[in-house]
Protein backbone atom coordinates (compact mmCIF):
# COMPACT_ATOMS: atom_id res chain seq x y z
CA UNK A 1 0.00 0.00 0.00
CA UNK A 2 2.81 2.35 0.85
CA UNK A 3 5.94 2.36 -1.25
CA UNK A 4 9.18 1.38 0.32
CA UNK A 5 10.61 4.82 -0.29
CA UNK A 6 7.70 6.39 1.57
CA UNK A 7 8.10 3.99 4.46
CA UNK A 8 11.80 4.78 4.74
CA UNK A 9 11.28 8.51 4.60
CA UNK A 10 8.49 8.46 7.14
CA UNK A 11 10.55 6.51 9.66
CA UNK A 12 13.47 8.94 9.56
CA UNK A 13 12.08 11.67 11.86
CA UNK A 14 11.18 9.34 14.76
CA UNK A 15 14.50 7.53 14.40
CA UNK A 16 16.33 10.88 14.40
CA UNK A 17 14.39 11.92 17.47
CA UNK A 18 15.13 8.70 19.35
CA UNK A 19 18.73 8.85 18.23
CA UNK A 20 19.22 12.48 19.12
CA UNK A 21 17.38 12.63 22.40
CA UNK A 22 17.85 9.12 23.69
CA UNK A 23 20.82 7.31 22.21
CA UNK A 24 23.19 10.24 22.03
CA UNK A 25 22.64 11.29 25.66
CA UNK A 26 23.00 7.69 26.82
CA UNK A 27 26.12 7.39 24.75
CA UNK A 28 27.55 10.55 26.25
CA UNK A 29 26.67 9.34 29.72
CA UNK A 30 28.36 6.02 29.08
CA UNK A 31 31.44 7.78 27.74
CA UNK A 32 31.61 10.11 30.74
CA UNK A 33 31.57 7.18 33.10
CA UNK A 34 34.93 6.12 31.74
CA UNK A 35 36.51 9.61 32.06
CA UNK A 36 37.63 11.51 35.20
CA UNK A 37 37.95 14.89 36.84
CA UNK A 38 41.33 16.43 37.51
CA UNK A 39 41.78 19.88 39.06
CA UNK A 40 38.13 20.72 38.57
CA UNK A 41 38.05 19.86 34.86
CA UNK A 42 36.67 16.80 33.07
CA UNK A 43 39.52 14.97 31.39
CA UNK A 44 38.80 12.59 28.52
CA UNK A 45 41.12 9.84 29.64
CA UNK A 46 39.61 6.35 29.40
CA UNK A 47 39.76 4.53 32.76
CA UNK A 48 37.76 2.39 35.17
CA UNK A 49 38.44 4.51 38.25
CA UNK A 50 34.82 5.55 38.78
CA UNK A 51 33.58 2.00 38.86
CA UNK A 52 36.39 1.08 41.22
CA UNK A 53 35.35 3.93 43.52
CA UNK A 54 31.79 2.69 43.54
CA UNK A 55 32.90 -0.77 44.52
CA UNK A 56 35.43 0.28 47.15
CA UNK A 57 33.73 3.19 48.91
CA UNK A 58 31.03 1.83 51.25
CA UNK A 59 29.03 5.06 51.13
CA UNK A 60 27.64 4.28 47.72
CA UNK A 61 26.57 0.75 48.60
CA UNK A 62 24.92 2.10 51.72
CA UNK A 63 22.92 4.69 49.83
CA UNK A 64 22.00 2.21 47.14
CA UNK A 65 20.76 -0.25 49.74
CA UNK A 66 18.72 2.43 51.48
CA UNK A 67 17.23 3.42 48.13
CA UNK A 68 16.33 -0.19 47.36
CA UNK A 69 14.77 -0.58 50.81
CA UNK A 70 12.70 2.55 50.39
CA UNK A 71 11.67 1.46 46.90
CA UNK A 72 10.64 -1.96 48.21
CA UNK A 73 8.67 -0.42 51.09
CA UNK A 74 6.89 1.98 48.80
CA UNK A 75 6.05 -0.86 46.40
CA UNK A 76 4.69 -3.13 49.11
CA UNK A 77 2.67 -0.39 50.78
CA UNK A 78 1.27 0.77 47.44
CA UNK A 79 0.22 -2.80 46.70
CA UNK A 80 -1.38 -3.17 50.12
CA UNK A 81 -3.36 -0.01 49.51
CA UNK A 82 -3.96 -0.40 45.79
CA UNK A 83 -5.04 -4.05 45.63
CA UNK A 84 -8.01 -3.92 48.02
CA UNK A 85 -9.15 -0.74 46.33
CA UNK A 86 -8.91 -2.25 42.85
CA UNK A 87 -10.58 -5.44 44.07
CA UNK A 88 -13.45 -3.60 45.70
CA UNK A 89 -14.00 -1.41 42.67
CA UNK A 90 -13.88 -4.26 40.20
CA UNK A 91 -16.03 -6.77 42.05
CA UNK A 92 -18.25 -4.90 44.45
CA UNK A 93 -18.78 -1.33 43.32
CA UNK A 94 -21.57 -0.90 40.82
CA UNK A 95 -23.17 2.52 40.83
CA UNK A 96 -20.26 4.49 42.24
CA UNK A 97 -17.62 2.77 40.13
CA UNK A 98 -16.96 5.67 37.76
CA UNK A 99 -16.87 8.23 40.53
CA UNK A 100 -14.40 6.18 42.55
CA UNK A 101 -12.23 5.73 39.49
CA UNK A 102 -12.12 9.49 38.95
CA UNK A 103 -11.22 10.00 42.60
CA UNK A 104 -8.21 7.72 42.18
CA UNK A 105 -7.06 9.39 38.96
CA UNK A 106 -7.54 13.03 39.95
CA UNK A 107 -4.48 13.24 42.25
CA UNK A 108 -2.34 12.41 39.22
CA UNK A 109 -3.33 15.76 37.74
CA UNK A 110 -1.80 17.57 40.68
CA UNK A 111 1.90 18.31 40.33
CA UNK A 112 4.27 16.05 42.22
CA UNK A 113 5.93 19.08 43.76
CA UNK A 114 2.67 20.43 45.10
CA UNK A 115 1.86 17.11 46.71
CA UNK A 116 5.35 16.87 48.17
CA UNK A 117 4.95 20.33 49.72
CA UNK A 118 1.55 19.37 51.01
CA UNK A 119 3.09 16.51 52.96
CA UNK A 120 5.73 18.89 54.27
CA UNK A 121 2.96 21.00 55.68
CA UNK A 122 1.16 18.05 57.17
CA UNK A 123 4.15 16.33 58.74
CA UNK A 124 6.16 19.30 59.99
CA UNK A 125 6.69 20.26 63.64
CA UNK A 126 4.15 23.06 63.23
CA UNK A 127 2.24 20.90 60.86
CA UNK A 128 -1.29 19.60 60.79
CA UNK A 129 -0.52 16.13 62.11
CA UNK A 130 1.46 17.31 65.11
CA UNK A 131 -1.11 19.96 65.88
CA UNK A 132 -3.86 17.36 65.77
CA UNK A 133 -2.03 14.93 68.05
CA UNK A 134 -1.27 17.69 70.58
CA UNK A 135 -4.86 18.81 70.44
CA UNK A 136 -5.95 15.33 71.37
CA UNK A 137 -3.30 15.36 74.10
CA UNK A 138 -1.73 12.22 72.65
CA UNK A 139 1.64 13.99 72.54
CA UNK A 140 3.04 16.93 74.52
CA UNK A 141 5.68 18.04 72.10
CA UNK A 142 5.90 17.97 68.34
CA UNK A 143 7.16 14.64 67.06
CA UNK A 144 10.17 15.40 64.94
CA UNK A 145 10.58 12.15 63.09
CA UNK A 146 7.43 12.68 61.01
CA UNK A 147 9.33 14.96 58.70
CA UNK A 148 12.85 14.79 57.31
CA UNK A 149 13.10 11.05 57.73
CA UNK A 150 12.85 7.90 55.61
CA UNK A 151 9.36 7.53 57.10
CA UNK A 152 8.30 10.78 55.46
CA UNK A 153 9.84 9.75 52.14
CA UNK A 154 8.08 6.39 52.14
CA UNK A 155 4.78 7.97 53.12
CA UNK A 156 4.94 10.66 50.47
CA UNK A 157 6.09 8.35 47.70
CA UNK A 158 3.47 5.73 48.59
CA UNK A 159 0.83 8.40 48.29
CA UNK A 160 2.19 9.45 44.93
CA UNK A 161 2.70 6.01 43.42
CA UNK A 162 -0.38 4.12 44.62
CA UNK A 163 -2.42 5.26 41.62
CA UNK A 164 0.32 3.85 39.39
CA UNK A 165 -0.04 0.50 41.08
CA UNK A 166 -3.81 0.71 41.05
CA UNK A 167 -4.28 1.32 37.31
CA UNK A 168 -2.76 -1.82 35.77
CA UNK A 169 -4.10 -3.90 38.65
CA UNK A 170 -7.62 -2.64 38.10
CA UNK A 171 -7.35 -3.30 34.38
CA UNK A 172 -6.15 -6.82 35.08
CA UNK A 173 -9.00 -7.52 37.48
CA UNK A 174 -11.58 -6.10 35.09
CA UNK A 175 -10.36 -8.53 32.46
CA UNK A 176 -11.17 -11.57 34.53
CA UNK A 177 -14.35 -13.05 33.00
CA UNK A 178 -17.13 -13.01 35.57
CA UNK A 179 -18.30 -16.48 34.66
CA UNK A 180 -15.01 -17.82 36.03
CA UNK A 181 -16.00 -16.44 39.42
CA UNK A 182 -19.43 -18.00 39.10
CA UNK A 183 -17.87 -21.30 38.03
CA UNK A 184 -15.63 -21.24 41.08
CA UNK A 185 -18.59 -20.63 43.40
CA UNK A 186 -20.59 -23.26 41.57
CA UNK A 187 -17.90 -25.84 42.22
CA UNK A 188 -17.96 -25.20 45.94
CA UNK A 189 -15.38 -22.46 46.54
CA UNK A 190 -16.44 -19.65 48.87
CA UNK A 191 -15.39 -16.05 48.04
CA UNK A 192 -12.15 -16.38 50.00
CA UNK A 193 -11.06 -19.56 48.23
CA UNK A 194 -12.13 -18.06 44.92
CA UNK A 195 -9.90 -15.05 45.55
CA UNK A 196 -6.77 -17.03 46.33
CA UNK A 197 -7.24 -19.71 43.69
CA UNK A 198 -8.69 -17.78 40.78
CA UNK A 199 -8.61 -14.01 41.13
CA UNK A 200 -5.15 -13.54 42.58
CA UNK A 201 -3.34 -15.79 40.07
CA UNK A 202 -5.13 -14.15 37.16
CA UNK A 203 -4.28 -10.67 38.44
CA UNK A 204 -0.54 -11.30 38.59
CA UNK A 205 0.31 -9.59 35.26
CA UNK A 206 -1.35 -6.38 36.47
CA UNK A 207 0.23 -6.79 39.86
CA UNK A 208 3.70 -7.18 38.35
CA UNK A 209 3.19 -4.21 36.05
CA UNK A 210 2.07 -1.99 38.92
CA UNK A 211 4.80 -3.16 41.25
CA UNK A 212 7.42 -2.56 38.59
CA UNK A 213 6.14 0.97 38.03
CA UNK A 214 6.30 1.78 41.71
CA UNK A 215 9.68 0.19 42.30
CA UNK A 216 11.51 1.58 39.30
CA UNK A 217 10.06 5.06 39.68
CA UNK A 218 10.89 5.19 43.37
CA UNK A 219 14.38 3.92 42.73
CA UNK A 220 15.15 6.91 40.59
CA UNK A 221 13.26 9.44 42.68
CA UNK A 222 15.11 12.49 44.02
CA UNK A 223 12.35 14.99 44.73
CA UNK A 224 10.91 12.96 47.60
CA UNK A 225 14.10 12.98 49.66
CA UNK A 226 14.69 16.59 48.67
CA UNK A 227 11.34 17.82 49.92
CA UNK A 228 10.62 15.66 52.92
CA UNK A 229 13.64 13.41 53.38
CA UNK A 230 16.32 15.45 55.08
CA UNK A 231 19.98 14.41 55.26
CA UNK A 232 19.25 10.95 56.67
CA UNK A 233 17.26 9.91 53.63
CA UNK A 234 19.57 10.67 50.75
CA UNK A 235 18.74 8.33 47.88
CA UNK A 236 20.94 7.35 44.99
CA UNK A 237 19.37 9.85 42.62
CA UNK A 238 20.20 12.69 45.01
CA UNK A 239 23.84 11.61 44.90
CA UNK A 240 23.83 11.68 41.14
CA UNK A 241 22.18 15.08 41.20
CA UNK A 242 24.78 16.58 43.50
CA UNK A 243 27.62 14.99 41.51
CA UNK A 244 26.31 16.77 38.46
CA UNK A 245 25.79 19.90 40.50
CA UNK A 246 27.76 21.27 43.38
CA UNK A 247 30.02 18.25 43.91
CA UNK A 248 31.06 18.52 40.26
CA UNK A 249 32.15 15.01 39.36
CA UNK A 250 30.24 14.19 36.18
CA UNK A 251 32.16 11.00 35.44
CA UNK A 252 31.32 9.49 38.83
CA UNK A 253 27.73 10.61 38.54
CA UNK A 254 27.58 9.07 35.07
CA UNK A 255 28.99 5.80 36.40
CA UNK A 256 26.27 5.62 39.05
CA UNK A 257 23.65 6.45 36.46
CA UNK A 258 24.91 3.68 34.17
CA UNK A 259 24.71 1.18 37.02
CA UNK A 260 21.14 2.16 37.86
CA UNK A 261 20.19 2.01 34.21
CA UNK A 262 21.60 -1.50 33.79
CA UNK A 263 19.88 -2.66 36.96
CA UNK A 264 16.54 -1.23 35.83
CA UNK A 265 16.84 -2.83 32.40
CA UNK A 266 17.60 -6.18 33.99
CA UNK A 267 14.61 -5.78 36.31
CA UNK A 268 12.29 -4.91 33.43
CA UNK A 269 13.43 -7.93 31.45
CA UNK A 270 12.85 -10.19 34.41
CA UNK A 271 9.35 -8.90 35.12
CA UNK A 272 8.42 -9.01 31.46
CA UNK A 273 9.29 -12.68 31.30
CA UNK A 274 7.37 -13.34 34.50
CA UNK A 275 4.38 -11.44 33.17
CA UNK A 276 4.38 -13.48 29.97
CA UNK A 277 4.44 -16.70 31.96
CA UNK A 278 1.45 -15.63 33.98
CA UNK A 279 -0.55 -13.90 31.27
CA UNK A 280 -3.81 -15.84 31.21
CA UNK A 281 -1.64 -18.89 31.00
Amino acid sequence: MYSRAYKTIVSVPPLLWVGLFLLVPYGLMLAHSFWLVRDGVIVHEWNLQNYATLLRNPVYAEVLLRTARIAASVTILSLLLGYPLAYYMSFHATVRKDLLYQLVIVPLWVSYLVRGYAWKTILGSDGVLNGFLQYLHLTKEPVSFFLYSPFAVILTLTHIYTPFVFLPLYASLEHIPRDLIEASHDLGANPRATFFRIILPLSIPGLLAGATFAFVLTLGDFLGPLLVGGPSSIMIANMVQSLFGTAYDWPLGAAIAVCILLFTIALLFATERLEKRWAFR
Binding site: D179, E182, A183, S184, L187, G188, L202
Partner: protein, 357 residues
Protein backbone atom coordinates in the same frame (compact mmCIF):
# COMPACT_ATOMS: atom_id res chain seq x y z
CA UNK B 1 -40.62 -11.59 49.91
CA UNK B 2 -39.32 -14.93 51.00
CA UNK B 3 -41.27 -15.99 54.03
CA UNK B 4 -39.35 -16.98 57.10
CA UNK B 5 -41.58 -19.93 57.82
CA UNK B 6 -42.33 -22.34 55.01
CA UNK B 7 -42.96 -26.04 54.74
CA UNK B 8 -41.58 -28.68 52.44
CA UNK B 9 -43.88 -30.00 49.69
CA UNK B 10 -46.59 -32.27 51.04
CA UNK B 11 -48.28 -33.86 48.05
CA UNK B 12 -47.42 -37.44 47.16
CA UNK B 13 -46.67 -36.51 43.59
CA UNK B 14 -43.89 -34.30 44.89
CA UNK B 15 -42.35 -37.19 46.78
CA UNK B 16 -40.36 -38.17 43.70
CA UNK B 17 -39.53 -34.57 42.87
CA UNK B 18 -35.91 -33.69 43.31
CA UNK B 19 -36.37 -29.98 42.78
CA UNK B 20 -39.40 -27.86 43.38
CA UNK B 21 -39.71 -24.30 42.17
CA UNK B 22 -42.56 -22.60 44.01
CA UNK B 23 -44.08 -19.35 42.79
CA UNK B 24 -40.78 -17.90 41.75
CA UNK B 25 -40.80 -14.32 40.54
CA UNK B 26 -37.74 -12.33 39.47
CA UNK B 27 -37.58 -8.67 38.70
CA UNK B 28 -34.60 -6.70 37.38
CA UNK B 29 -35.37 -3.07 38.12
CA UNK B 30 -38.76 -2.57 36.52
CA UNK B 31 -38.51 -5.56 34.21
CA UNK B 32 -40.37 -8.69 35.34
CA UNK B 33 -38.36 -11.58 33.93
CA UNK B 34 -40.11 -14.43 35.75
CA UNK B 35 -43.72 -14.29 36.83
CA UNK B 36 -45.07 -16.62 39.50
CA UNK B 37 -43.49 -19.72 38.06
CA UNK B 38 -43.88 -23.16 39.61
CA UNK B 39 -42.23 -26.31 38.37
CA UNK B 40 -41.19 -29.72 39.63
CA UNK B 41 -38.26 -31.74 38.41
CA UNK B 42 -38.27 -35.47 39.01
CA UNK B 43 -35.18 -37.32 40.07
CA UNK B 44 -33.20 -38.78 37.19
CA UNK B 45 -35.09 -36.95 34.48
CA UNK B 46 -33.75 -34.87 31.63
CA UNK B 47 -35.82 -31.70 31.66
CA UNK B 48 -35.32 -28.95 29.12
CA UNK B 49 -36.23 -25.31 29.64
CA UNK B 50 -37.13 -24.17 26.16
CA UNK B 51 -37.91 -20.65 25.05
CA UNK B 52 -36.92 -17.62 23.02
CA UNK B 53 -34.37 -15.08 24.21
CA UNK B 54 -35.91 -13.12 27.02
CA UNK B 55 -38.30 -15.90 28.01
CA UNK B 56 -36.59 -16.21 31.38
CA UNK B 57 -35.12 -19.68 30.95
CA UNK B 58 -31.55 -18.68 31.71
CA UNK B 59 -32.68 -16.55 34.65
CA UNK B 60 -34.50 -19.53 36.12
CA UNK B 61 -31.39 -21.64 35.70
CA UNK B 62 -29.26 -19.02 37.43
CA UNK B 63 -31.73 -18.83 40.30
CA UNK B 64 -31.41 -22.57 40.80
CA UNK B 65 -27.62 -22.37 40.56
CA UNK B 66 -27.54 -19.56 43.09
CA UNK B 67 -26.09 -16.74 40.98
CA UNK B 68 -29.27 -14.69 41.45
CA UNK B 69 -31.77 -14.32 44.25
CA UNK B 70 -35.52 -14.62 43.59
CA UNK B 71 -37.60 -11.51 44.13
CA UNK B 72 -40.23 -13.77 45.68
CA UNK B 73 -40.99 -17.47 45.91
CA UNK B 74 -38.93 -20.41 47.07
CA UNK B 75 -36.86 -23.22 45.68
CA UNK B 76 -36.72 -26.55 47.44
CA UNK B 77 -34.48 -29.53 46.82
CA UNK B 78 -34.95 -32.90 48.52
CA UNK B 79 -37.18 -31.45 51.17
CA UNK B 80 -34.78 -28.67 52.11
CA UNK B 81 -34.82 -25.00 51.22
CA UNK B 82 -32.37 -24.26 48.41
CA UNK B 83 -32.65 -20.59 47.53
CA UNK B 84 -31.33 -19.43 50.90
CA UNK B 85 -28.03 -21.22 50.31
CA UNK B 86 -25.08 -19.61 48.53
CA UNK B 87 -24.03 -21.38 45.32
CA UNK B 88 -20.98 -22.96 46.92
CA UNK B 89 -23.16 -24.86 49.36
CA UNK B 90 -25.65 -26.26 46.88
CA UNK B 91 -25.36 -29.80 45.60
CA UNK B 92 -25.88 -28.37 42.15
CA UNK B 93 -23.29 -27.90 39.41
CA UNK B 94 -23.40 -25.90 36.20
CA UNK B 95 -22.03 -26.34 32.69
CA UNK B 96 -21.65 -22.81 31.34
CA UNK B 97 -22.44 -21.62 27.84
CA UNK B 98 -18.90 -20.46 27.23
CA UNK B 99 -17.39 -23.29 29.30
CA UNK B 100 -15.74 -20.98 31.89
CA UNK B 101 -12.67 -23.17 32.19
CA UNK B 102 -9.92 -21.71 34.38
CA UNK B 103 -7.21 -20.60 31.94
CA UNK B 104 -4.33 -20.83 34.39
CA UNK B 105 -5.05 -24.47 35.31
CA UNK B 106 -4.52 -27.64 33.32
CA UNK B 107 -7.48 -29.75 32.23
CA UNK B 108 -6.93 -32.17 35.11
CA UNK B 109 -6.64 -29.32 37.62
CA UNK B 110 -9.80 -27.79 36.23
CA UNK B 111 -11.70 -31.03 36.64
CA UNK B 112 -10.34 -31.61 40.13
CA UNK B 113 -11.07 -28.05 41.28
CA UNK B 114 -14.39 -28.82 42.90
CA UNK B 115 -12.92 -31.79 44.73
CA UNK B 116 -9.99 -29.78 46.02
CA UNK B 117 -11.96 -26.82 47.31
CA UNK B 118 -14.47 -29.03 49.11
CA UNK B 119 -11.64 -30.98 50.71
CA UNK B 120 -12.42 -34.34 49.17
CA UNK B 121 -9.96 -37.01 50.35
CA UNK B 122 -6.72 -36.15 48.57
CA UNK B 123 -5.88 -39.74 47.75
CA UNK B 124 -9.12 -40.14 45.83
CA UNK B 125 -8.84 -37.08 43.67
CA UNK B 126 -6.53 -38.28 40.86
CA UNK B 127 -8.62 -41.41 40.32
CA UNK B 128 -11.89 -39.53 40.27
CA UNK B 129 -10.50 -36.93 37.88
CA UNK B 130 -9.25 -39.67 35.59
CA UNK B 131 -12.60 -41.43 35.65
CA UNK B 132 -14.43 -38.20 34.83
CA UNK B 133 -12.10 -37.47 31.92
CA UNK B 134 -12.56 -40.98 30.58
CA UNK B 135 -16.30 -40.55 30.74
CA UNK B 136 -16.04 -37.64 28.31
CA UNK B 137 -13.18 -39.19 26.37
CA UNK B 138 -10.67 -36.50 27.26
CA UNK B 139 -8.22 -38.50 29.35
CA UNK B 140 -5.40 -37.86 26.85
CA UNK B 141 -5.62 -34.12 27.44
CA UNK B 142 -5.20 -34.18 31.21
CA UNK B 143 -2.09 -32.02 31.19
CA UNK B 144 -3.16 -29.63 28.43
CA UNK B 145 -4.20 -26.04 28.92
CA UNK B 146 -7.81 -25.11 28.06
CA UNK B 147 -6.62 -22.53 25.54
CA UNK B 148 -5.23 -25.31 23.39
CA UNK B 149 -8.53 -27.15 23.10
CA UNK B 150 -11.27 -26.79 20.53
CA UNK B 151 -14.78 -25.70 21.52
CA UNK B 152 -16.12 -29.23 21.61
CA UNK B 153 -13.20 -30.43 23.72
CA UNK B 154 -13.59 -27.56 26.16
CA UNK B 155 -17.24 -28.44 26.43
CA UNK B 156 -16.42 -31.98 27.43
CA UNK B 157 -13.95 -30.81 30.05
CA UNK B 158 -16.58 -28.44 31.45
CA UNK B 159 -18.95 -31.39 31.65
CA UNK B 160 -16.38 -33.58 33.41
CA UNK B 161 -15.58 -30.76 35.81
CA UNK B 162 -19.22 -30.53 36.80
CA UNK B 163 -19.99 -34.25 36.97
CA UNK B 164 -16.93 -35.28 38.97
CA UNK B 165 -18.54 -33.71 42.05
CA UNK B 166 -21.54 -36.06 41.75
CA UNK B 167 -24.11 -33.27 42.05
CA UNK B 168 -27.75 -34.04 42.65
CA UNK B 169 -28.70 -31.76 39.80
CA UNK B 170 -26.71 -30.72 36.75
CA UNK B 171 -27.55 -27.43 35.08
CA UNK B 172 -26.58 -26.92 31.46
CA UNK B 173 -26.83 -23.39 30.07
CA UNK B 174 -27.11 -23.73 26.28
CA UNK B 175 -23.88 -25.74 26.29
CA UNK B 176 -24.03 -26.69 22.61
CA UNK B 177 -25.00 -23.37 21.06
CA UNK B 178 -21.41 -22.37 20.31
CA UNK B 179 -20.69 -25.56 18.35
CA UNK B 180 -21.15 -26.19 14.63
CA UNK B 181 -24.09 -28.26 13.42
CA UNK B 182 -22.42 -31.64 13.03
CA UNK B 183 -20.53 -31.46 16.31
CA UNK B 184 -23.72 -30.34 17.95
CA UNK B 185 -25.62 -33.41 16.80
CA UNK B 186 -22.81 -35.63 17.95
CA UNK B 187 -22.61 -33.99 21.37
CA UNK B 188 -26.39 -34.25 21.75
CA UNK B 189 -26.14 -38.02 21.39
CA UNK B 190 -23.25 -38.19 23.82
CA UNK B 191 -25.01 -36.03 26.38
CA UNK B 192 -28.13 -38.15 26.24
CA UNK B 193 -26.31 -41.44 26.75
CA UNK B 194 -24.13 -39.87 29.43
CA UNK B 195 -27.17 -38.80 31.36
CA UNK B 196 -28.65 -42.27 31.09
CA UNK B 197 -25.39 -43.81 32.24
CA UNK B 198 -24.77 -41.52 35.18
CA UNK B 199 -28.39 -41.21 36.25
CA UNK B 200 -28.03 -37.61 37.41
CA UNK B 201 -30.94 -35.22 36.94
CA UNK B 202 -30.23 -32.81 34.07
CA UNK B 203 -31.79 -29.39 33.68
CA UNK B 204 -30.99 -28.19 30.18
CA UNK B 205 -31.59 -24.73 28.74
CA UNK B 206 -31.90 -24.13 25.00
CA UNK B 207 -33.76 -22.07 22.41
CA UNK B 208 -33.48 -24.85 19.82
CA UNK B 209 -36.70 -26.85 19.82
CA UNK B 210 -35.24 -29.70 17.82
CA UNK B 211 -32.51 -30.11 20.39
CA UNK B 212 -35.10 -30.05 23.15
CA UNK B 213 -37.16 -32.75 21.51
CA UNK B 214 -34.15 -34.94 20.82
CA UNK B 215 -32.80 -34.88 24.37
CA UNK B 216 -35.57 -34.42 26.87
CA UNK B 217 -37.80 -36.61 28.95
CA UNK B 218 -39.91 -33.51 29.40
CA UNK B 219 -39.92 -30.05 27.90
CA UNK B 220 -40.89 -26.95 29.86
CA UNK B 221 -41.77 -24.24 27.35
CA UNK B 222 -41.33 -20.74 28.72
CA UNK B 223 -42.85 -17.63 27.28
CA UNK B 224 -42.33 -14.14 28.71
CA UNK B 225 -41.44 -15.46 32.12
CA UNK B 226 -44.29 -17.92 32.48
CA UNK B 227 -44.69 -21.63 31.77
CA UNK B 228 -46.61 -22.20 28.58
CA UNK B 229 -46.66 -26.00 28.70
CA UNK B 230 -44.76 -28.82 30.39
CA UNK B 231 -44.95 -32.24 28.74
CA UNK B 232 -42.95 -34.99 27.12
CA UNK B 233 -41.71 -34.16 23.60
CA UNK B 234 -44.20 -36.46 21.91
CA UNK B 235 -47.06 -35.17 23.98
CA UNK B 236 -46.19 -31.54 23.48
CA UNK B 237 -45.83 -32.07 19.74
CA UNK B 238 -49.02 -34.04 19.27
CA UNK B 239 -51.14 -32.00 21.69
CA UNK B 240 -49.91 -28.41 21.88
CA UNK B 241 -52.06 -26.48 24.30
CA UNK B 242 -51.74 -23.11 22.61
CA UNK B 243 -51.04 -21.68 19.20
CA UNK B 244 -47.74 -20.38 20.52
CA UNK B 245 -46.65 -23.89 21.47
CA UNK B 246 -47.86 -25.32 18.18
CA UNK B 247 -45.80 -22.80 16.26
CA UNK B 248 -42.73 -22.85 18.45
CA UNK B 249 -42.31 -26.60 18.51
CA UNK B 250 -42.28 -28.00 15.03
CA UNK B 251 -44.19 -26.27 12.28
CA UNK B 252 -47.91 -25.90 11.93
CA UNK B 253 -50.80 -24.32 10.09
CA UNK B 254 -53.01 -22.24 12.33
CA UNK B 255 -56.56 -22.39 11.03
CA UNK B 256 -58.93 -19.87 12.46
CA UNK B 257 -62.42 -21.25 12.14
CA UNK B 258 -66.02 -20.96 13.16
CA UNK B 259 -67.42 -23.96 14.95
CA UNK B 260 -71.13 -24.57 14.65
CA UNK B 261 -72.91 -27.73 15.70
CA UNK B 262 -69.84 -29.92 15.51
CA UNK B 263 -68.51 -28.61 12.24
CA UNK B 264 -65.55 -26.28 11.89
CA UNK B 265 -65.26 -23.99 8.91
CA UNK B 266 -62.14 -22.13 7.91
CA UNK B 267 -62.11 -20.63 4.46
CA UNK B 268 -63.23 -23.37 2.11
CA UNK B 269 -62.23 -26.09 4.55
CA UNK B 270 -64.86 -27.86 6.60
CA UNK B 271 -64.33 -30.68 9.02
CA UNK B 272 -66.13 -32.33 11.93
CA UNK B 273 -64.92 -31.41 15.40
CA UNK B 274 -65.87 -31.96 18.99
CA UNK B 275 -64.99 -28.38 19.94
CA UNK B 276 -67.64 -26.06 21.36
CA UNK B 277 -69.43 -23.48 19.23
CA UNK B 278 -67.73 -20.23 18.49
CA UNK B 279 -64.45 -19.02 17.04
CA UNK B 280 -61.62 -21.45 17.53
CA UNK B 281 -58.01 -21.80 16.37
CA UNK B 282 -56.90 -25.19 15.11
CA UNK B 283 -53.37 -26.45 14.66
CA UNK B 284 -52.78 -28.69 11.66
CA UNK B 285 -49.25 -29.97 11.18
CA UNK B 286 -47.88 -29.84 7.60
CA UNK B 287 -47.05 -33.55 7.56
CA UNK B 288 -50.68 -34.38 8.30
CA UNK B 289 -51.67 -33.04 4.89
CA UNK B 290 -51.08 -35.42 2.00
CA UNK B 291 -51.64 -35.62 -1.73
CA UNK B 292 -54.96 -37.28 -2.41
CA UNK B 293 -53.48 -39.04 -5.41
CA UNK B 294 -50.84 -40.74 -3.30
CA UNK B 295 -52.93 -41.97 -0.43
CA UNK B 296 -55.98 -44.07 0.10
CA UNK B 297 -57.90 -41.67 2.27
CA UNK B 298 -60.73 -42.95 4.38
CA UNK B 299 -64.29 -41.72 4.13
CA UNK B 300 -63.85 -39.22 6.91
CA UNK B 301 -60.87 -37.49 5.28
CA UNK B 302 -61.19 -33.82 4.45
CA UNK B 303 -60.39 -33.00 0.84
CA UNK B 304 -59.49 -29.70 -0.72
CA UNK B 305 -57.88 -28.38 -3.86
CA UNK B 306 -54.99 -25.95 -3.78
CA UNK B 307 -52.43 -24.31 -6.07
CA UNK B 308 -48.76 -24.98 -5.51
CA UNK B 309 -47.16 -21.65 -4.67
CA UNK B 310 -43.73 -22.73 -3.54
CA UNK B 311 -41.79 -25.96 -3.30
CA UNK B 312 -38.63 -26.51 -1.29
CA UNK B 313 -36.76 -29.78 -1.60
CA UNK B 314 -35.13 -30.95 1.64
CA UNK B 315 -33.62 -34.27 0.78
CA UNK B 316 -36.24 -36.64 2.08
CA UNK B 317 -39.23 -34.30 2.02
CA UNK B 318 -40.85 -31.62 -0.08
CA UNK B 319 -41.99 -28.54 1.81
CA UNK B 320 -44.86 -27.02 -0.09
CA UNK B 321 -46.69 -23.77 0.27
CA UNK B 322 -50.13 -24.11 -1.25
CA UNK B 323 -52.90 -21.63 -1.90
CA UNK B 324 -56.35 -22.93 -1.05
CA UNK B 325 -58.72 -20.24 -2.30
CA UNK B 326 -56.83 -17.49 -0.57
CA UNK B 327 -55.78 -19.53 2.45
CA UNK B 328 -52.08 -20.35 2.48
CA UNK B 329 -51.14 -23.71 3.95
CA UNK B 330 -47.88 -25.46 4.50
CA UNK B 331 -47.67 -29.08 3.42
CA UNK B 332 -44.97 -31.62 3.97
CA UNK B 333 -44.83 -34.74 1.81
CA UNK B 334 -42.19 -37.33 1.02
CA UNK B 335 -39.89 -36.30 -1.82
CA UNK B 336 -41.44 -37.05 -5.19
CA UNK B 337 -40.19 -34.58 -7.78
CA UNK B 338 -41.37 -31.18 -8.90
CA UNK B 339 -45.07 -30.37 -8.66
CA UNK B 340 -46.94 -27.64 -10.43
CA UNK B 341 -50.44 -26.34 -10.75
CA UNK B 342 -53.44 -27.44 -8.76
CA UNK B 343 -53.66 -30.63 -6.78
CA UNK B 344 -56.04 -32.30 -4.42
CA UNK B 345 -54.97 -32.64 -0.78
CA UNK B 346 -56.39 -34.56 2.18
CA UNK B 347 -56.11 -34.53 5.95
CA UNK B 348 -57.84 -36.29 8.80
CA UNK B 349 -60.16 -34.19 10.96
CA UNK B 350 -58.54 -35.61 14.06
CA UNK B 351 -55.26 -33.97 13.10
CA UNK B 352 -56.80 -30.50 13.38
CA UNK B 353 -56.22 -29.87 17.05
CA UNK B 354 -58.01 -27.04 18.78
CA UNK B 355 -55.54 -24.83 20.65
CA UNK B 356 -55.77 -21.91 22.99
CA UNK B 357 -54.92 -18.70 21.22
Amino acid sequence: MNSAVSSPPVSSAAAAALLEVRNIAKRFGTREVLKDLSLQIAEGEFLTLLGESGSGKTTLLRLIAGFEQPTSGEIWMNGARLDTLPPYRRRVNTVFQHYALFPHLSVADNVGYGLRVTSAPAAEIPARVDAALRMVKMQEYAKARPSRLSGGQQQRVALARALVNRPQLLLLDEPLSALDANLRKQMQGELKSLQREVGITFLFVTHDQEEAMALSDRIALLRDGALEQVDSPREIYAHPASSYTAQFIGQTNLLRGEVHEGVATSGVLRWPTAAANGVKVFSLRPECIQLAAETAPGAKAVRFRAQIRQQIFSGSVEQLEVDCSGQVLRVRIPARGVLTGEHEFVFHPGDAIPVRE
